[in-house]
């Protein structure tokens, strides 16, 4: 056999896998730094269990944000939608003598309505989603505060309920909500990549004019994305309330920047038309580990912000390098 016949195949990574690979590589790099500086903490299974408790909340919120971002919009109103749907869940629980399903349904309906409202402002009135949702975030937070009257609502009755065990119980070292979060990620991932709706989300954010000319109802697609945010807010707030058996009206406040960071660190660009669900899951894991990691390696809690900032900027640089546009 002559040497000419042997084909040397160069291993080429398809472009669409690059963001996921980038996010994964970045995550591993960050973890090795953490493990190097605090091996006792980061090689301990308890650390992972702690992270997995809250990780699914960031994954579920991030999923909705990936859809919105890829559709060419942004949603900054989800933290207060989260608080509002949580409040509706809590109030309905009290009013129905702890009927979980009615309370969850009420919270879902409110979440869907919130999404419809934002979608209406953005698509029918043509407002910028950045400014609209910034305003809506204040508005919903205000409504929540007025309705809640500064109360912290506790539901000790839930501690032993089978529903709580199913949603947030622990299966060995794995909290149940992690499995729920990953299941939702899988379902939405299939819809994102393989369902007509997901394909149209990509088109809406890539070239809405082209989509309209080819008969894609771009406005409707965007409204559905905002509704998805509402639905995910409702699921996230419900899980969050079940975890602690407590509702407090500021529960959404810590989510805004970490969730957006998870989307972008995961390799979904802010420009629309492109995105990755697998990347988001890795991005969310990265972000949640920073929160715990910065403190675990012995740094002051004040350093969390600095760590966040560094990780986001570095990951953007990494994604840029992967897409071959490092030198402009």
């Amino acid at each position: 056999m002559s040497i000419e016949n042997a084909t040397v195949k160069k291993f080429i990574v398809p472009d669409r896998f690059k963001p996921v690979l980038g996010a994964a590589g970045f995550y591993l790099l960050m973890m090795s730094v953490f493990i190097y500086f605090a091996p006792s903490v980061f090689l301990n299974i308890g650390m992972f269990t702690a992270v997995f408790l809250s990780l699914p909340l960031y994954i579920i919120m991030g999923l909705a944000l990936v859809f919105v971002t890829v559709s060419g919009e942004i949603d900054l109103s989800f933290p207060s939608t989260l608080a509002l749907t949580g409040l509706v869940f809590s109030l309905t629980l009290n009013a129905t003598n702890y009927n979980f399903w009615v309370a969850f349904l009420a919270s879902l309906l409110v979440g869907i309505t919130c999404g419809l409202f934002v979608g209406f402002l953005v698509t029918k009135l043509g407002f910028s989603s950045l400014i609209t949702t910034l305003g809506v975030n204040f508005m919903f937070a205000g409504i929540t505060q007025v309705l809640n009257q500064g109360q912290v609502r506790q539901f000790p009755e839930f501690d032993e309920s089978p529903i709580r065990a199913a949603v947030v119980g622990s299966w060995g070292p794995i909290p149940a909500q992690l499995l729920w979060g990953l299941a939702i990620a899988m379902i939405l991932g299939v819809i994102f990549n393989r369902h007509r709706f997901g394909i149209h989300v990509h088109i809406a954010g890539d070239n809405p004019e082209a989509g309209r000319a080819m008969g894609v109802n771009v406005s409707r697609v965007k409204v559905y994305c905002f509704i998805l945010v509402g639905i995910c807010c409702s699921i996230t707030s419900t899980i969050s309330i079940l975890i602690n058996s407590t509702y407090y009206s500021t529960m959404g406040e810590g989510y805004l920047l970490p969730v957006l960071a998870a989307v972008f660190v995961g390799g979904t660009p802010v420009t629309g038309g492109k995105g990755t669900i697998a990347g988001l899951v890795i991005g969310a894991t990265t972000v949640v580990f920073i929160n715990t990691g910065v403190i675990a390696v012995g740094l002051d809690g004040y350093f969390t912000g600095l760590g966040f900032g560094l990780v986001i900027i570095l990951s953007l640089l990494g994604h840029r390098a992967l897409s071959g546009r490092l030198s402009r």
Binding site: R194, D206, A210, G211, R212, G215, G273
Partner: protein, 252 residues
């Protein structure tokens, strides 16, 4: 025997704010004919094709009659479903998406739950790319459109128009920014469409192209239809003289 028109426009008007883009357009289009739609910049050619393709809505009072039936709630999705395909001037492509996603944009092949039949779409796109003579072997149906050249992108837009069994294909300036060899291919392609029995509306800035392919000329000037007649034995230079005359006087 009187021929039945494929599509008939009655009293189509379009205003953008205070600008009257189209004034009382009445037009019949028959099966298997190539109509060259000509006119100066701003004459309303693109607006007219956008109204036929459902991308723009005509002002109220206009009638669109397809195969003898007046159409209500005319829109892009409906027009495509009823067999009207358009190659838009700006090509209407989503650049970050794959070639096959663009070919099937808005008319994805799905199962009854709405999930896309990806393999079938890729296979059909591949066959289509070979059919319209993609010379470059580098591209697969999975390549994103942003890597393609201008002519190749036009190829994607054109293959989208012939993929489905359309009865009317509208091409708005399809040869703009194309190499001469590519332009010749597009002209040949238009003749192919006619041989397959489809109707074509062809818009071009190049009067020789417009003359060469046409069975019939429709000339717009400042939003009005000023000439509608068969080519007959009109020579190219007579046609061009007529266009000049219209541009100068606004009528014949």
């Amino acid at each position: 025997m009187e021929r039945k028109p494929l599509i008939e426009l009655v009293g189509v008007e379009k205003t953008f704010g205070r600008v009257q883009a189209l004034t009382n357009i009445n037009l019949k289009l028959y099966e298997g004919e190539i109509v060259s739609l000509v006119g100066d910049n701003g004459a309303g050619k693109t607006t007219l094709t956008k109204i036929i393709s459902g991308t723009e809505k005509a002002d109220s009072g206009a009638k669109i009659i397809l195969r003898g039936e007046e159409q209500k709630n005319w829109g892009a999705a409906k027009a495509r479903k009823l067999g009207i395909e358009t190659v838009h001037q700006n090509r209407a492509l989503s650049e970050q998406q794959s070639i096959y996603a663009n070919v099937f944009m808005g008319r994805e092949l799905t199962n009854r739950f709405g999930f896309v039949k990806r393999k079938q779409q890729i296979a059909e796109t591949e066959a289509l790319m070979r059919k319209i003579g993609y010379t470059s072997k580098v591209w697969t149906p999975n390549s994103p459109v942003l890597k393609l050249s201008g002519g190749e992108r036009q190829g994607v837009a054109i293959s989208r128009a012939i993929l489905f069994d359309s009865s009317l294909v509208m091409l708005d300036e399809p040869t703009t920014a194309m190499a001469l060899s590519e332009q010749a291919e597009v002209i040949e392609f238009i003749h192919d469409l006619k041989r397959q029995g489809r109707s074509v509306i062809f818009i071009s800035h190049n009067p020789w192209d417009a003359h060469a392919v046409a069975d019939r000329f429709v000339i717009l000037d400042r939003g009005r239809l000023v000439f509608d007649g068969p080519k007959g034995d009109m020579k190219a230079d007579e046609f061009i003289m007529m266009l000049r005359e219209i541009a100068r006087k606004g009528t014949i």
